[in-house]
């Protein structure tokens, strides 16, 4: 048919390197989700605040994260902050960029989730003598996380996909970065990137399955 033979050997040879890249990819995604979740909760709370400066800051973050491309946000950290004298490597730039993006989307998700927890729960907790922060942490938050668990899983998959943007700012240790290095050395573009695609697909499937397992274990009520 076409004058092209698919070579398996380079893929096999490169597999250990690519898998170690996949590990870096997962690391960045998990870290960005952790930061994004904490920041997202704080942003969701800040948006409800009566303090104009606080809620304005949160709104600006959320709308900025949701209405510009993730790649733009990574650029902002990598190139933009340089103008302010902050020079970051590609790894932290990517991590901060994705965490910023995650936080913005998660904040909106959390806002909806918080609204779905009946206000009487807060009231019941306060009536037992719990302070507002304690009641929030022990009574409201756990219930919110159940409501938003599915969208959070989706965000986690997106976080993995977003890590591929690192290559554009010169990251060469994650899955896409390593694939690109191999590609530049050997020009077996299709083989390497097809292999990378398969690995990304498997990672996102593992995330989905793990999430299902966690939900089944944790949310028994």
């Amino acid at each position: 048919m076409f004058q092209y033979t698919f070579h398996w050997r380079p893929i096999l040879n490169a597999l250990p390197d690519m898998l170690s890249g996949a590990w870096v990819t997962i690391q960045i995604a998990v870290l960005s989700m952790l930061i994004g979740t904490i920041a997202g909760v704080l942003l969701a709370l800040a948006r409800q605040s009566s303090n104009k400066i606080l809620s304005g800051f949160a709104t600006a973050w959320v709308e900025g994260a949701r209405n510009t491309p993730a790649l733009f946000q990574v650029y902002m950290v990598y190139f933009g902050l340089g103008s302010l004298g902050i020079h970051l490597d590609s790894y932290p730039s990517l991590l901060i960029g994705i965490a910023f993006n995650n936080a913005g989307y998660l904040a909106e998700t959390f806002r909806g989730g918080l609204r779905a927890v009946p206000p009487t729960q807060m009231r019941a907790a306060r009536s037992l003598g719990m302070s507002a922060p304690k009641a929030f942490v022990y009574v409201v938050l756990p219930q919110m996380f159940r409501i938003v668990f599915h969208p959070m899983t989706n965000q986690m998959v997106w976080a993995v996909l977003m890590t591929s943007l690192g290559v554009v700012v010169g990251l060469n240790t994650d899955l896409t970065g390593i694939t690109q290095e191999l590609n530049v050395k050997t020009f077996r573009t299709f083989e390497y990137f097809a292999a990378a695609a398969v690995i990304y697909y498997l990672i996102s499937k593992v995330i989905t399955l793990t999430a299902r397992l966690i939900a089944w274990r944790v949310f028994r009520y």
Binding site: P118, A124, S127, L128, M130, Y138, Q143, R220, Y221
Partner: protein, 240 residues
């Protein structure tokens, strides 16, 4: 002792409590009856500071509930409240529901809180349901769990806000039985209720609320047995 003096409470333009005064002594059971919207439930929320008031004051053991410097969290440890909608914490098992406040508010160790919770749950007849989640309980059982949850803080006062109104008729009895037991143990209680027979049986005094005011207050034989006010008579005729 709970002392309520000329309390006014509004939601926006709507004044629901219009100058209520009454006091409840230690060991006393006072029932509050009256039509829906008469302001009786709102008054309960004001007693433990869940709702602010616009005028008057409420003292619990000499502490002004709505004064600026009052530590409401500390005060609420001594005032248990049970709601009409039992408000179980759905993400916690029955025993965890009861343990939460002793652990997080009183700072008890897990084992200590567990012992208290188990004791209170057995007391209300839920000793077999410790590890179960609230969604697997009937409404009556959830309401008894809510009572145990409030009791776990060893309160001096218990407030009951129409605790049987949302229950299926066949489940009302078990909750009333639990409350009867508490009153026989000498617990100080304010019971907002529609169960007139129950109010008559357990209360030292009954207060009849009508459009934000107390119309009649006194021993049950008097208020329920031989009411003086026209509104009380009409109300009692409508519910009996």
């Amino acid at each position: 002792m709970i002392e309520i003096r000329d309390v006014h409470k509004s939601f926006g333009q709507l004044e629901v409590v219009k100058g209520v005064s009454m006091s409840v002594a230690k060991g006393e059971v006072v029932s509050v009856i009256g039509g829906s919207g008469s302001g009786k439930s709102t008054l309960l929320m004001c007693i433990n500071g869940l709702e602010p008031i616009q005028k008057g004051n409420i003292h619990v053991d000499g502490i002004d509930v709505h004064a600026r410097g009052t530590d409401l969290n500390k005060l609420r440890r001594r005032i248990g409240i049970v709601f009409q909608q039992w408000n179980a914490f759905p993400h916690l098992s029955v025993i965890e529901n009861v343990m939460l406040a002793p652990r997080k508010v009183l700072g008890l160790k897990r084992s200590e809180a567990e012992a208290i919770a188990e004791q209170r749950l057995k007391h209300v007849g839920l000793g077999e349901k410790l590890k179960v989640y609230p969604s697997q309980l009937s409404g009556g059982q959830q309401q008894r769990m809510a009572i145990a949850r409030a009791l776990a803080m060893s309160p001096d006062y218990m407030l009951f806000d129409e605790v049987t109104s949302a229950l299926d008729p066949q489940l009302v009895g078990e909750v009333l039985e639990t409350m009867r037991m508490l009153s026989s143990e000498g617990m100080t209680m304010i019971v907002v209720t529609h169960e007139i027979a129950f109010a008559r049986e357990v209360s030292n005094r009954v207060a009849f609320f009508h459009s934000g005011r107390i119309r009649e207050i006194g021993p049950p034989e008097q208020v329920i047995g031989s009411p003086q006010q026209a509104e009380t008579i009409t109300f009692l005729q409508s519910v009996l």
